[in-house]
Symmetry: C2
Subunit: 341 residues, 2 copies
C-alpha cells in the first residue's frame, strides 16, 4: 500500500472526532491493512486553515482549536478558500465535513467535484451532495479511478451503503422502513416521560443536537433527505426530499403519546419507501408502533432501518446511541474501503 | 471476468435452493457484475452424482431429484466418492453442503481442503469446518490465492462475517449478544401460546426444522457452535463449542413462560461472548428479556445479534424468518465476493 495524504475540510465535532480516530487507529491500520497516512491539510470554518505537505501535527492542531486559537500559525501557506485548499494540500483523500445545505448541496458538491477532478478520493458525511449530485459525482469518481463514499450520511457509522455495495451483493432492494432522525426520537421519548413538545425541543437544543430553528428535524426534512439518499443510491432511482410525502411531529401532543403508551404502542417518526418497477413511493410520518416491532424499543438517538430485498428475509440494522465519534468512524471506514478496493 | 464452473457437493434443501437461485440470478449477475457460470458437478447424498465439464442442465437435474430419480443418468462419468467428484468436476468453485458433523467437522473439512488444494474457491454453509478448521483452511486458501467463505453458517444469508471483513473495517469486536438458534425460539414462542415443551418440540420435528433427537437445539449445542464460530472468526480467538458455558431450555416450563409474559418479559435462549485481551468468556443460556431489548419482539425463526465494537455504538442485525432460500443466498453472496475480490 502506498502512503496517503489526507485533507480535512471542515473541522467541527465530526472533523475533530475524525482527527482523534486517525491518531488512535494509526498503528492498528498499519498492522491490519498496511495503510499509513499523514494529514497534510485542515480547513476550519472560523479557526483558519493549515496546509503542510510534510504533515500537520494533529495533536497540536486539536489543541489549538480546543483552546480557541486558529490554525493559521501551523503553516505559512496562504490559502485562498476551500478550492485552493483542496488543490494545494497535495492530498490523496478529501474528507468533506462542511455544514449541510439541504436545498442545493453546495458548496460541498463543488468541493467534492474539485477533489475528484484533482485525483483525490472524495469522502463526506454531508447528505447534500448525495441527494443533489450522486450520479454526477459517482460517474466522475469512476472516470477518475477514485471513490465517492458517504457512509456517514445515513445512520452515522453504521454500514448501510457498504452493505448493498459489498456485503449483500446481488440483492434487489424492494422497500425499507425505519427511524432515521435522532432529534424527533429523543423528543418523542421525552414526551413519554411527561415533557411538553416545547420542553423536549428545548432540551435537544441545549444538548446541541437540534438547531435554533428545529424545522429540519421536527417537520421531517432531515428524515426525508435521508430517505431520498437511500432511494437514490440503494434503489438506483434519483429522488428528491420534496418527493417524499412528509408529515412532521408538531401535531403530536403529550396526551396522544400517553394514550399510545396506555395502548401498548409508542409514537415513532417512521421513514419508508417502496419500489414498484422504476416507481418509488416514499413517506415520513409519525406512526404508533407495537412491541412486536423492533422500532418499539428505540430510545434516544438510536436509529433503525429494516430492508426488504428479493432474496433475504427482512434485514434490520440498529445503531445504538451514535455520536460524532460514530460519524467519524464512518468516514474512516470509507477511507479504508476506498484505498483497499 | 472469466467464466466460472461450479460444483455442488450436497444437494438437499439448501443445495437445491442454491440451484434455483443460480438459475434465477443468471442474467442479473452477468449484467451487474459480469459474472457468468455453469454448474459442472452435482453430488447428492442418496440420488447419485453427475459431472459434466460442458455443463449440467440444472432444471433437468432439479426435476430428476423432485421426482425421486437419481442424477446418474445425467453424465457418463464414474465418480468414486466426493474427493474424486471435486477433482473431476473441473470446477472453479465448490459449494460444500453436506450434513454438519459437530464433533469433528468431517468429512466437510476434507472436502474443503481438497477443493482449495485443487485451486477451487471453497464455500460452505456447514458450521463444522469453521469451528474445527478455520485457521488451517483460511491459511490454505490464502496460500492458494483462493477464498474460504462460510457466510451462511451463522444467521443464514444475513451478512455477519462479511460485515467485519468488508463493511466495518478497522473495528475491534469486544462482545456480542443474540438469539442464534431458530428451533428453540420457535419452541419458546409456541410455549407462550400454551403448548407444552414436548408439543412444541414435536411441532418443530413435523415442520422439519428439529431432528428426531432434538438435543443439538434444545440443549444449546447448535447455538454454542455458532458462538464458537463467531468468537473464532470475528474475535480471532480459536474457540470450541465445549468452551461455551451452555444451558439449554429443557428446564423451562409453560408456567415459567407464562409468569415471564405476565411480568412483561419473554424467555429467549441468549448467546453471548465478551473478550478481555485474548481471553473470551462465552455463554448460551435462557434469559428473560424485556420490551426494551430488540430480542423481545423476535418471533419464530427470526434471529438477532448485537455487536459491541471499539468505535461504533451497539450494532444490531436482525434477520426475519430465514429459510433454505436465505441460506442459499449466503452461498451465492460468498461466490460473488470470492470471485470479484
Amino acid at each position: 500500500m502506498p502512503h496517503y495524504n489526507l485533507a480535512l475540510l471542515g473541522f467541527g465535532n465530526v472533523g475533530r472526532s475524525l482527527a482523534d480516530l486517525l491518531l488512535r487507529k494509526k498503528a492498528e491500520l498499519k498492522e491490519r491493512y498496511d495503510i499509513t497516512y499523514t494529514v497534510t491539510g485542515i480547513a476550519t470554518g472560523r479557526h483558519g486553515s493549515a496546509v503542510d505537505p510534510s504533515g500537520i501535527d494533529l495533536v497540536g492542531a486539536l489543541d489549538l482549536i480546543r483552546t480557541g486559537r486558529t490554525l493559521n500559525s501551523v503553516s505559512k501557506a496562504q490559502i485562498a478558500g476551500p478550492l485552493d485548499f483542496i488543490r494545494t494540500s497535495q492530498a490523496d483523500v478529501l474528507f468533506e465535513n462542511t455544514p449541510v445545505n439541504h436545498e442545493t448541496g453546495q458548496p460541498a458538491v463543488t468541493h467534492l467535484r474539485t477533489a475528484l477532478k484533482c485525483g483525490l478520493h472524495a469522502i463526506t458525511a454531508n447528505k447534500g451532495p448525495v441527494v443533489h449530485a450522486y450520479r454526477e459525482l459517482t460517474e466522475l469518481a469512476k472516470a477518475q479511478g477514485k471513490k465517492f463514499y458517504f457512509e456517514s450520511t445515513v445512520m452515522d457509522g453504521a454500514p448501510i451503503f457498504v452493505l448493498f455495495r459489498d456485503a449483500i451483493p446481488g440483492t434487489q432492494l424492494k422497500s425499507f422502513r425505519g427511524v432515521l432522525n435522532s432529534t424527533t426520537n429523543i423528543i418523542l421519548t421525552r414526551m413519554e416521560a411527561g415533557e411538553s413538545f416545547a420542553q423536549a425541543v428545548k432540551h435537544c437544543q441545549e444538548i446541541g443536537i437540534a438547531e435554533t430553528d428545529p424545522t429540519a428535524d421536527v417537520d421531517g426534512w432531515d428524515a426525508a433527505i435521508k430517505v431520498a439518499a437511500l432511494v437514490t443510491v440503494l434503489m438506483g432511482v434519483p429522488f428528491t426530499p420534496q418527493q417524499v410525502e412528509r408529515t412532521g411531529i408538531r401535531q403530536i401532543t403529550p396526551e396522544m403519546v400517553a394514550a399510545a403508551r396506555a395502548d401498548g404502542t409508542r409514537y415513532k417518526l417512521v421513514c419508508s419507501a417502496q419500489r414498484e418497477c422504476d416507481r418509488v413511493q416514499a413517506c415520513v410520518a409519525p406512526e404508533q408502533v407495537s412491541a412486536a416491532s423492533p422500532m418499539y424499543g428505540l430510545e434516544g438517538s438510536t436509529s433503525l432501518v429494516e430492508f426488504k430485498t428479493d432474496v433475504l428475509g427482512d434485514l434490520t440494522i440498529i445503531e445504538k446511541d451514535p455520536g460524532p465519534a460514530t460519524t467519524a468512524y464512518g468516514l474512516l471506514a470509507d477511507f479504508i474501503n476506498a484505498v483497499r478496493s
